[in-house]
Symmetry: C2
Subunit: 334 residues, 2 copies
């Protein structure tokens, strides 16, 4: 991947940061291989490449950013440990990265978090602190309090330059693999929650392919990136929106740092329905042999449901994670 103008000094993260992150995670994270599916190409009329980060350690791309952040802590910071608030993939990614780097990790989770997520986070040796969703303190407050009391470092889930750079390594690999194949991406589609993965990906894929179009993919109602990109400013989701099946993507508003990057590079955003997401997960089971979680399937759903015209195009998309409840997955197989 060549150096390009993705080194703008106005940006909070640069392509060189993504490349530096790739060196740090080398041999630690799994270098997932691009997948193809004859059926996916047939259905869309394009040539589709899938980056399967559900195969990443900890079950999602989140490990990349966490490892990149934690490996740069000073010895003194490492001794003080880290804190993250997350009931999901970020918590598992931080817990695993901390374990590999011999750092104590505390993960703040709601008391009603799914048992399987609690178990998996704990299995990486993290201390779990529960908070009451209806209690007086938010998880942010509890996280900040624990960090302050213990002299620990708080690890944000997306609005942090090191996290953004780490997540971007996935797209850096996509770029390298496509260049080795002698092919260029026309478009790249990325699930978006806080927009950290999307921001890192925007830097990396535009470094590889200057003409590539990039799109966020979000569930209906939680399409704050799509709306924000359209208006050119950060717009929050509606306050009274019901929960999405995409628990990983229920962030209320794009991150400040992430949107600064995404606004510069992205062509727009897609919004997909619950039915389209479920159909994409089922497609993953039938034709990719991948277990995909709802929030990990939005980019695949956008491409499969024709939100982007793939005819004759080369399109990359990322499947971000596979940490899905077996009972829910079972309903897809009816």
């Amino acid at each position: 991947v060549p150096d390009t103008i993705i080194e703008d000094s106005d940006l909070p993260v640069r392509f060189s940061d993504v490349k530096a992150a790739a060196k740090r995670i080398k041999g630690k994270a799994t270098r997932t291989a691009l997948l193809r599916s004859v059926e996916l190409d047939r259905l869309t009329g394009g040539r589709i490449y899938v980056k399967p980060e559900c195969l990443q350690l900890s079950g999602s791309f989140k490990f990349r950013g966490a490892y990149n952040r934690l490996s740069q802590l000073s010895e003194r910071q490492k001794a003080g440990g880290v804190v993250a608030y997350s009931s999901g993939n970020h918590g598992q990614g931080v817990a695993l990265a901390a374990n590999m780097l011999d750092i104590a990790a505390t993960i703040v989770m709601p008391g009603d978090a799914p048992k399987i997520k609690i178990e998996r986070t704990a299995s990486h040796g993290a201390r779990i602190v529960f908070f009451d969703r209806k209690g007086p303190k938010t998880r942010e407050e509890i996280g900040a309090q624990i960090a302050a009391e213990g002299g620990s470092v708080l690890v944000p889930s997306y609005d942090d330059p090191h996290i953004i750079a780490g997540q971007g390594t996935s797209a850096l690999e996509v770029g390298e693999d496509m260049i080795e194949r002698g092919e260029a991406l026309d478009a790249y589609v990325v699930p978006a929650g806080g927009g950290g993965l999307f921001a890192g990906s925007n830097l990396a894929v535009h470094a590889a392919f200057s003409d590539v179009k990039t799109y966020s993919a979000e569930p209906h109602g939680y399409d704050d990136h799509a709306r924000s990109l359209e208006k050119g400013t950060r717009i929050a989701i509606d306050a009274d929106i019901p929960d999405s099946i995409c628990d990983a993507l229920m962030t209320p508003i794009p991150g400040k740092l992430t949107f600064q990057i995404n606004r510069r590079f992205a062509s727009g955003g897609f919004s997909v329905s619950e039915e389209e997401i479920k159909a994409a997960m089922r497609f993953g089971f039938d034709y990719l042999n991948l277990v995909i979680e709802p929030g990990g399937a939005t980019a695949l759903a956008a491409v499969l449901s024709g939100k982007i015209d793939a005819t004759g195009k080369i399109i990359g998309l990322i499947v971000t994670g596979g940490n899905v409840d077996p009972d829910f997955f079972k309903t897809l197989l009816e």
Copy 2:
């Protein structure tokens, strides 16, 4: 991967054939990446690498051998088309390779083959010919008859040098990836039906690691490789054995050519129970985010169930395919 003694002129296939096959399939087959799982290492006490060929085009490693075989046909042979008898992965692999090479394919299947397998084979443009399992003619006879009448080439599913060499490319990639990591395999475990994949793998992994131990993995009752390797001669399964859930591994006896190779290199074979296979499939869902079919899970089952002592060892294993019936898979998620 260095050249070694795996060029013995007594062998029906040599390592140089596997390397030649790798060149033919390059850019056609998916180069699947080795996967790791923190949980797999914890449970086994070893360092386990998984080669996920359920992510291969057509849903199994069979595409590799099929493409290697078909791409070497003469123009005249190509014009006459190909025939294969298989209700499963070999049929789908041949159908897809034929489609990519513009060759007409006829696949002979039992009339009671699962609808999903018929549909997928047909979706690659193959003509399907059904035969009656209880009729006077075997599928071998029908296949031979169709081949003779149409001037077509019969493509065997395992006992063929080009098929063996093609399947071995998966293990060649494993060797390359491990050497790049600077690690050597202590053992490699491979599901075995007719033994074609095991034979090609034996050539390739022994070329990479001269001291590696290799093992077949089969379901109870269909452990003809384990028994044959122990006795040093080809031994058939018992005649009255009931069907296995591993439809891909119900071959009655090791192939002649494949056993000639496997006998030379293999250290032995493991036999796993239906419960161990199901537990491995569930592990694949929970911790690898892979959809694995029963016959594709025997090597993982052997490692997970402690058939091999993995403590402190570096062990590779291949997950061969993911073409599983959704109704069956659903029962694993209860």
